[in-house]
Amino acid sequence: MEMKDNMKKKLKLKVSAIKDGTVIDHIPAKSLFKVISILGLDQIENQITFGTNLDSAKLGGKAIIKVTGKFFEDNEINKIALIAPHAKLNIIRDYEVVEKKIVETPEKIRGIVKCFNPKCITNNETITTCFKVISDEPIALKCRYCEKITTEDQIRMV
């Protein structure tokens, strides 16, 4: 038992602690790079550390991202709900978790997802997609343009 706890601690430390910033945990490992891209983390100067393919009973392989000096707005973070619906955010100040947040599926999704309908105008001309979320478990998105419904298994990122 003690051994296991030690192991866990070590595992945690594989991604080093941050002083101020945000930890995004419980990201499915396969979605890590999509999350990075959706949140624009590849475009910013902040220090970012991440780990992936970490053990998780729930996700069977999770990823974690730690961003120094970055605090996300809700509407910003909710964009990842489609691909990391169980993600949890820890807001860190002075090495302490001061706030925990969960991701909530927004009512509208702009950009991010492609419409599954090949005959939709958004797949034939340069148009930012826009969907109304009509169900979040499982995800179902109604295209503002062609009015067809893209379901979870059909979701492709832009």
């Binding site: 005959k119 148009i127 062609c146």
Partner: protein, 302 residues
Amino acid sequence: MKKDLISITDFSKEEYLRIMELAADFEQNPNQNLLKGKVVASLFFEPSTRTRLSFETAISRLGGRIVGFADPGSSSATKGETLHDTIKMVSNYADVIVMRHPLEGAARYAAEVSDIPVINAGDGANQHPTQTLLDLYSIQKTQGTLDNINLFMVGDLKYGRTVHSLLQAMSEFENPIFNFIAPPVLQMPRAYKHHLDDKGIRYFEHEEFTDIISEADIIYMTRVQKERFSDPIEYEKVKNIYILNNAMLENTKPNVRILHPLPRVNEIATDVDANPKAYYFEQALNGVYTREAIIAHLLNLK
């Protein structure tokens, strides 16, 4: 703020009724110079002679002038111009745009790009709201009301956008009953049945096209197309079942009327045409009055 008509659900029940009222007015007096000095852009990115002539007749009877194209071959789209740019340009020229496009969602996008009202004259398999409004007008005119209508829909209920939009519109009125008659592979999609369930509206599904139509106030016929069947044997089995002939109308209600969005192929036998219950050609004429009404409503001309 400008008003568009892209999807049948863009209009409220009050607006449906307003269109019915205006259409009746235009039927009494079709030639009204309300569009005098105005230019209507008629953009048919896909040919549709019937819809285009109906619109252009409506515009002409309103005294408006028409610019545009009847098929994509004569538009700049063939040179690779984006829909965005075509609409941007035309919206600087004209007062209202009527557009038909093969891609779904094209009309909604055009309405976002355009500063002037856009009327969707069909966007792929998605929406064709002016058809639905002329269907409503035909029902109202022949039944005297849009409430308590027993509506039978026959044929291809899976892919037929006209039946889907009509279902949505009629579900806004009091106490409709829907009867769906279709082969198993072409049944009304679940989403529309859920819509009716949510609103507590009764509907019945049938495979047989028989004397159950004796209950009908409206029989809305659509075509069962061979292309919809992956198995040609399935098509052969059902192809002659969903055909309406004059003998079948014998025990129907005196007020029943047969509607069809046209063009018809063989789903209504020609011996029905002489029956006073046949209404599809008048229905097409109602389209002109309804389109006059839609234009007048969107441009606040009345």
